[in-house]
Symmetry: C2
Subunit: 418 residues, 2 copies
């Protein structure tokens, strides 16, 4: 894409009321637009990152045989009353509204109840199990405060998966496979080393759950981690029982701030019993389905990437989710021969399957490089009078230091593919 | 995908309260799930159709240089007050809710105001124009009645595009290109012959707008069309002035029921003036941007396809948007040699790039064919004792009549690609 065509521009400053680094950086670079506190639109550069994050998650979910669907934002009051989660005293993040036709509706902050209820139409026998489904869906949560940019929004995109099994053995197989798939996702996003499967509180149905916590100064959680043993415990469950279950001592653990990028949850049979999702076993007996749920914060992950790989005025996206593979910067100035050469490199890159942001704008080199640093595409190619004189282009892998002159004939093989 | 793995099953009957044919058919076939009146979830088969419709629309938008983004569901009251469209007396489809942090928010039924307002950060000079952006976004509309299935929902997916131009000439060029792109979309969906660019009322800013109306018995509009001249007028503006502008007489026009599948709208400079979206021209004067908006009902289109290409218990999807290219039906029964042969055909089809729903279930032939008719994949391949004995498979193009025995060596070239 030609940068002269891109409608967004970088901004010198972020909105004064924005305190989170991730949002300041992403607003300045033109990835997101702040509609109100905790509510962000995703602009062309931002939606490209989101879609690449989603594509990685989708690949990992599909590889497990999970089936994609999409539930609804509007929610039935009576469904959530059945599990006693309609009352604002029980769930304090509901947005609710009135129906013109009469009655109240909720806006989905979660989809556990509606997915479980829907499954009553499809799961009736042990022969129908196990099944796992997932969606990418916008959640709306009426948070009192929203100061963490896109890391904790009132409106955000989540991948949530739900598993349905006949018993604990089948459930555990899915649960363990999800753990692996989740770590694959975080590793592919460049967060593998800093992301820990974390012992956390289990809520109503189980003693413990597993969170995926990424070390991040802007995170809202505190965990105790052993980088060596790749073990972590959420502060909320740091006690002798947890330490003993993990086989570590308190001394081995380091206190860090973390962001919860994913969680997986074992409901046992309780959730399905509350919802009324039953199956018939081999003897014809009616038994509640064994359920699990599995969440990844898609927009939150984008925020965590900005926090970890960005500074105030500079960003380097992981190659797996960069909005474009290559940033081609033309320093042609008014020289039409140079501009034609840059055009030719642009065509060459696209013919070879790379996505390219092509800075063809008539601006000074300093402005172009400042914009490129802010936008954060990890691989940069510069066409200038100097490079053309040398029969080369300048190639920079921004994560790996300096600029190199590369003959055009060797350029394509030099560029890393995502 | 193996059908034994698909979690949805066909249903003998649709919910009793469902009166629309499109929803009855799509619920029975397992494409959608009714959450409440006018609110539907999209299941694995349904989301595949939706994504293929979106892919076609995206291709046509991108070809025009439109830039994709995604706005937010939560909306600021003060923004809509600025254009006097917050009041329920003025806009009667708002869902509104309270913010825990204080104040009211709206749920987006349209995005004209927020997109225009956001653009104030990016469009300041004539040099920034023209630009066109689009999104696929869920709209929420608090409709009093919702009896048309997915053709008119309280929650539905729309593609909405917005153009920003310095003046009428640039605007008209975009507007005319959109007309062509829209007809391309409807033609690619198999609706070209029955879809008309229709003269309709223009609302506050212009005398006329253009709707895209598809002849459809379940539609809510009435239009007067000349199939020969490919001309249509919405009943609401059928008068001498419109007839004269179109150069047709009343006698040439036939009254038909139609569904509005798209509309394009010229705002002139009024909308930007209301929002405060101004640009500086060559002389430095501040002038409101010339805006247009362009909508396509994505989920509605899926409903229209079901209405036009479906009967009560049978459907034939256009090849461009079918959930799978091919439905492979194995009649192996308990015969493991036949099952292995069907498995081999399944692999062959996938290796050649076709998406395949493979009915590997242990059911009677009659049940399998009834399900396949309902699901509606247009090309069917049957592997049975009879076909294997003939060294062939049975190939059916359901839109073009009978079954043919095709030698396996000729199968791949026989199958139509989308």
């Amino acid at each position: 894409m030609r940068q002269s065509h891109l409608f967004t521009k970088t901004q010198k400053t972020a909105p004064k009321d924005e305190v989170a680094k991730n949002a300041q950086l992403l607003i300045r670079a033109g990835f997101v637009h702040k509609e109100m506190a905790g509510v962000y639109a995703y602009l062309p550069l931002g939606i490209r990152v989101l879609e690449r994050i989603k594509a990685i998650v989708r690949e990992e979910m599909d590889a497990l045989g999970c089936q994609e669907l999409i539930m609804t934002s509007l929610q039935r009051k009576e469904l959530w009353e059945r599990t006693d989660r309609w009352d604002d005293e029980k769930v304090d993040v509901w947005f609710k509204s009135g129906l013109k036709a009469g009655g109240e509706v909720g806006l989905a902050w979660s989809h556990e109840e509606p997915i479980g209820d829907m499954m009553r139409a499809y799961l009736s026998s042990y022969k129908d199990l196990p099944k796992t489904v997932y969606q990418f869906q916008t959640k709306l949560r009426n948070e009192l405060r929203a100061k963490s940019g896109i890391m904790r929004g009132r409106e955000f995109v989540m991948k949530d998966a739900y598993s349905f099994a006949a018993g604990e053995e089948d459930h555990s197989r899915i649960y363990d496979a999800m753990k692996v798939a989740y770590m694959n996702v975080f590793t592919r996003l460049g967060l593998g080393d800093d992301t820990f499967i974390t012992f956390a509180s289990g809520g109503a149905f189980t003693q413990f759950s597993h969170e995926f916590q990424t070390i991040c100064d802007a995170g809202e959680d505190v965990c105790y981690v052993s980088r060596k043993k790749k073990i972590a415990v959420n502060q909320e469950v740091l006690n002798d029982e947890a330490l003993s279950a993990l086989g570590v001592s308190r001394d081995e653990l380091e206190e860090v701030k973390t962001a919860e990028v994913g969680n997986i949850f074992n409901f046992g049979r309780q959730k399905a019993e509350d919802i009324g999702l039953m199956y018939k076993d081999e003897t014809g007996a009616s038994i509640p389905v064994w359920m699990g749920s599995y969440g990844i914060g898609i927009t939150r992950l984008m925020g965590v990437l900005a926090e970890k790989f960005g500074t105030e005025a500079s960003m380097i996206w992981p190659k797996s989710v960069t909005p474009f593979d290559v940033h081609l910067v033309s320093l042609a100035g008014g020289n039409s021969d140079l501009a034609a050469e840059a055009d030719r490199v642009y065509e060459l890159l696209m013919e070879n399957g790379f996505s390219v942001l092509y800075d063809d704008r008539d601006l000074r080199a300093g402005e172009k490089f400042a914009d490129a640093d802010l936008i954060g595409i990890p691989q940069r190619i510069v066409v200038s009078e100097k490079t053309v004189a040398a029969g080369s282009v300048e190639y920079v892998d921004r994560g790996n230091g300096g600029a190199q002159l590369v003959p055009e004939s060797q350029l394509i093989e030099r560029i890393a593919r995502p």
